[in-house]
């Protein structure tokens, strides 16, 4: 596991303005309320785990924050820019990784990177792209089409595309799905590395023990409403019967779900 010292200290992070600021976010699908009056903030270097039962509104929240779907009410600020009023500036600062890598079947790995570089206007992209491909261990697949890549490699390509413009805000939706143990380890290292570099990261996942390893904060949702958010220690303190409870126990207590007896 990556244990390099952080480039941004906790004090600096606490003093810095939030990179993600959500204020009263509400999303309705017809009569159904998917997300209800959600507010929270994520500062540089913080990794916040978004957890909740199925249908809690995690993916809808992430899609609203990434500018994919418009919120019904509320405001979202990315890197200080209002996503609704300054979408271009806000989107330049963010990257969103869905659980299924979204790639263009007819573009090769290199063509994907060239395409994304132009979209985000990344000058000197070739060096950055080369470094990313080496870091993600897909440099030898540069001329391959997505159809010729395994699922894990496709995910790596999606990550390379997302990180090419050095986003300061990163959203992950179930980033560890389908990865092998080594892939999970590398993904965790990669997330922590970006956080140390000052990125604000929001991760939605059901793998609570993994979130516990990488998240500094946690936000629990249920039925579209925030149950609690705070540092792991704060959340544990509020929802644990005893010291040293893990996130799984906290999750069951916070959401009122029943844990299956062993």
């Amino acid at each position: 596991m990556d244990t390099a010292p952080p480039r941004i200290t906790e004090t600096e992070a606490a003093a810095a303005p939030p990179q993600i600021k959500v204020d009263g976010l509400t999303k309705l699908y017809g009569d159904f309320t998917a997300v209800n009056d959600l507010s929270f903030a994520v500062r540089p270097g913080e990794v916040i785990g978004l957890v909740g039962p199925n249908g809690a509104g995690k993916t809808t929240t992430l899609r609203c924050l990434a500018g994919i779907i418009p919120p019904t009410r509320g405001r979202v600020f990315i890197g200080g820019f209002d996503l609704a009023r300054q979408p271009i500036e806000a989107k330049r600062k963010l990257a969103f990784f869905s659980d299924e890598p979204r790639l263009f079947e007819y573009l090769t790995v290199n063509q994907h990177l060239a395409f994304v570089a132009r979209i985000y206007g990344v000058a000197g992209c070739q060096d950055i792209a080369r470094e990313l491909l080496v870091e993600l261990e897909i440099a030898d697949k540069a001329d391959k089409l997505p159809g010729e890549l395994s699922r894990g490699m496709k995910q790596k390509l999606a990550i390379a595309c997302g990180l090419l413009h050095a986003p300061s805000v990163i959203f992950f939706d179930e980033p560890l799905t389908g990865l092998d143990p080594l892939g999970i380890r590398r993904m965790k290292d990669s997330i922590l590395k970006r956080a140390r570099d000052g990125a604000a990261i929001l991760i939605s996942s059901h793998l609570l023990h993994l979130l516990e390893e990488i998240c500094s904060h946690v936000l629990i949702l249920k039925n579209g409403r925030k149950v609690i958010d705070g540092t792991l220690a704060e959340v544990r303190e509020r929802f644990s019967e005893q010291a040293g409870s893990n996130l799984e126990e906290v999750f069951f207590r916070a959401t009122g779900e029943t844990k299956a007896e062993p």
Binding site: I68, P70, I88, R92, E105, A117, A123
Partner: protein, 587 residues
């Protein structure tokens, strides 16, 4: 018990599918489509019955060919034999029955015998065979008349034998593969057998072959069909065709008596094929699992927009030009969509095509001498192709929002204004269409005769007309392409997004409404351009007739069309920004 479970599954799948379709008729967009589609189907398919009842155009009961019913039977048997022969030549992989992934997951591990699985598969295929037989008979009846029920049963019998034979032959091919006989060895053997049989039959019957008709009797293709029919009706070749005649005889029967005489042997052929299929002891499960997974993957990819087609690209396509990392981001979408068009749109291809068109045109021009015949023919062809490109091009070239809307979530994340997305998306098909049209114009300008109907058409005039058309056509293309893209944004449920489009006759009705709406919108958009052309033409002609008039008219029309296109891009861009993915597209 197993049969009951499978029948339950089949019945409820069908019922749920139909009730889902009926439920969606509550939405006006599906209801209106259903009404239009239903009316279209009624007028296209069923009006034929009404016409006859009202004493409309009477059609012959059995049109056949002029050689009579026996010739029709022989030719139908010949076609059927050819199709079955191809079933032995083409297959190159093991038998793979098309089960859905859910069927594979539930049925393959279940305690169901191979025989039951085959029965299930055969019964399932009978549903589509019956539907096809009904539809084809209705269409045929609409145009050719004849007894309805015998035709339908005849068509069903033919399709059933075909279905069983394809299955049986695929089992046999798999068995050959298992014994180490490669695809090419098998094909070589089949072609060799055909060649030996052909030579053998020739030497057997060469003295009794009917003489070729006199040259003056050889008009059209009718004589050739009659001659082939004659050959296959006499001598040993008639024995070769005999089993195939048995299968197609009920379909070509023109009276009930003929049908009842023919249906027995056809049913016997179905029975023999059934026994053959059921007794073939070939494992199909492994290949079927692989096949089902492949189909499911491709469908999922197509639904999510990640698959361009049910056949994804096999090899990478060279980029049409080097994409610099900085500059207008819309060009990135243009570049991406040009790559998606395939390898035929690189600048290198066009650099080859243009000199080829020029040299072919010049050489034809030289060969045609002073006569305008060939030049006029090429001009006519160019005009027809230009018209086709204008009418069909925007429907055929879909590498724009219609291709990318299923990945609209990706597009939405890009730091781009809506108008930039729309511009980038529509540029690629517009550019491909314009390049094709310019090539045609070039050919037309070269081949245009210098005199048409005794009126001189000087070189300057030809060049001027081609340049004028070259200026106007890309603007028309762009405008024509904006309309289906607008429809994709406003009525995404009506448009075939990606390749896996919605089904049902209500969808057909929606397509009809869209097609009519699209041409009306384009005509409306062309009115201001037409007015501008007229005004500028008269103004230019006042100075120099007709060259300056033509060019200034074209320039005026092109400017108006370009302004309309710019406004369209701006408006559509705003629509894209407001486009709520949560409302329309499958998540």
């Amino acid at each position: 018990m197993i049969a009951g479970a499978l029948a339950y599954y089949q019945y409820h799948s069908w019922r749920n599918r139909m009730s889902a379709r009926i439920r969606r008729l509550r939405q006006p967009k599906y209801l209106s489509g259903a009404i239009v589609g239903g009316l279209y189907l009624y007028f296209y398919l069923f009006q034929g019955f009404g016409l006859r009842h009202r004493g409309g155009v009477a059609r012959p009961a059995m049109p056949g060919l002029s050689g009579g019913p026996d010739l029709t039977l022989t030719l139908a048997a010949l076609i059927f034999m050819t199709i079955l022969l191809l079933a032995w030549i083409f297959p190159h992989s093991r038998t793979a029955l098309a089960f859905t992934e859910a069927e594979v997951s539930f049925l393959f591990p279940a305690p169901i015998s191979r025989k039951s699985l085959l029965h299930f598969k055969l019964l399932k295929s009978q549903i589509s065979i019956l539907f096809s037989a009904l539809l084809i008979t209705i269409i045929r009846h609409r145009w050719a008349g004849g007894p309805f029920i015998p035709r339908m049963i005849g068509f069903w019998a033919g399709l059933s034998v075909l279905n069983l034979h394809l299955l049986g032959s695929s089992f046999a091919v798999t068995m050959l593969m298992d014994r180490g006989i490669s695809t090419w060895r098998r094909r070589l053997f089949i072609f060799g057998a055909i060649a030996i049989a052909a030579v053998g039959f020739y030497f057997w019957v060469r003295h009794s072959l009917p003489p070729l008709p006199d040259p003056e009797e050889r008009h059209g293709f009718g004589w050739a069909f009659r001659y082939i029919g004659l050959i296959f009706s006499t001598g040993p070749l008639s024995y070769v065709l005999y089993p195939f005649r048995l299968v197609v005889a009920p379909y070509v029967a023109s009276t009930y008596a003929q049908f009842f005489a023919a249906i027995g042997p056809a049913l016997a052929m179905i029975g023999l094929h059934y026994i053959w299929v059921m007794r073939s002891n070939v494992a199909f499960e492994e290949a079927s699992v692989e096949f089902s997974r492949k189909i499911a993957d491709l469908r999922t990819a197509a639904r999510s927009g990640q698959g361009r087609a049910l056949r994804p690209p096999k090899k990478a396509v060279r980029a049409p030009f080097v994409l610099r990392p900085t500059g207008q981001p819309a060009i990135a979408l243009f570049w991406k969509n040009l790559i998606s068009t395939g390898q035929y749109v690189t600048f290198r291809v066009w650099l080859i095509l243009i000199p080829v068109a020029v040299s072919v045109g010049m050489s034809l021009q030289t060969q045609s001498g002073r006569g305008p015949g060939l030049g006029m023919a090429v001009m006519l062809l160019v005009a027809v192709l230009l018209a086709i490109s204008l009418f069909s091009g925007p429907h055929l070239l879909r590498n724009d929002l219609r291709q990318d809307l299923p990945v609209a979530d990706v597009l939405k994340m890009f730091p781009m204004r809506g108008w930039q997305v729309v511009l980038g998306e529509v540029l690629a098909p517009a550019a491909v269409l314009a390049a094709l049209q310019w090539l045609l114009l070039l050919l037309g300008a070269i081949m245009c005769p210098s005199q048409i109907n005794h009126a001189a058409v000087p070189l300057g005039m030809r060049v001027c007309a081609a340049l004028s058309a070259a200026a106007v056509l890309p603007c028309v293309d762009f405008l024509a392409l904006l309309i289906p893209n607008a429809a994709a944004l406003y009525f995404p449920a009506w448009i075939q997004l990606g390749k896996d489009g919605p089904r049902g006759f209500e969808t057909m009705g929606q397509q009809l409404i869209l097609a009519v709406g699209q041409w009306l919108a384009l005509l409306l958009g062309m009115i201001p351009a037409g007015i501008a052309f007229g005004l500028f033409f008269f103004a230019g002609s006042y100075v120099h007739w007709p060259l300056l008039g033509l060019m200034s008219g074209a320039a005026g029309a092109a400017i108006v069309l370009a302004v309309e296109a710019a406004l369209g891009v701006k408006w559509l861009g705003r629509s894209f920004e407001r486009f709520d993915l949560s409302g329309e597209l499958p998540q």
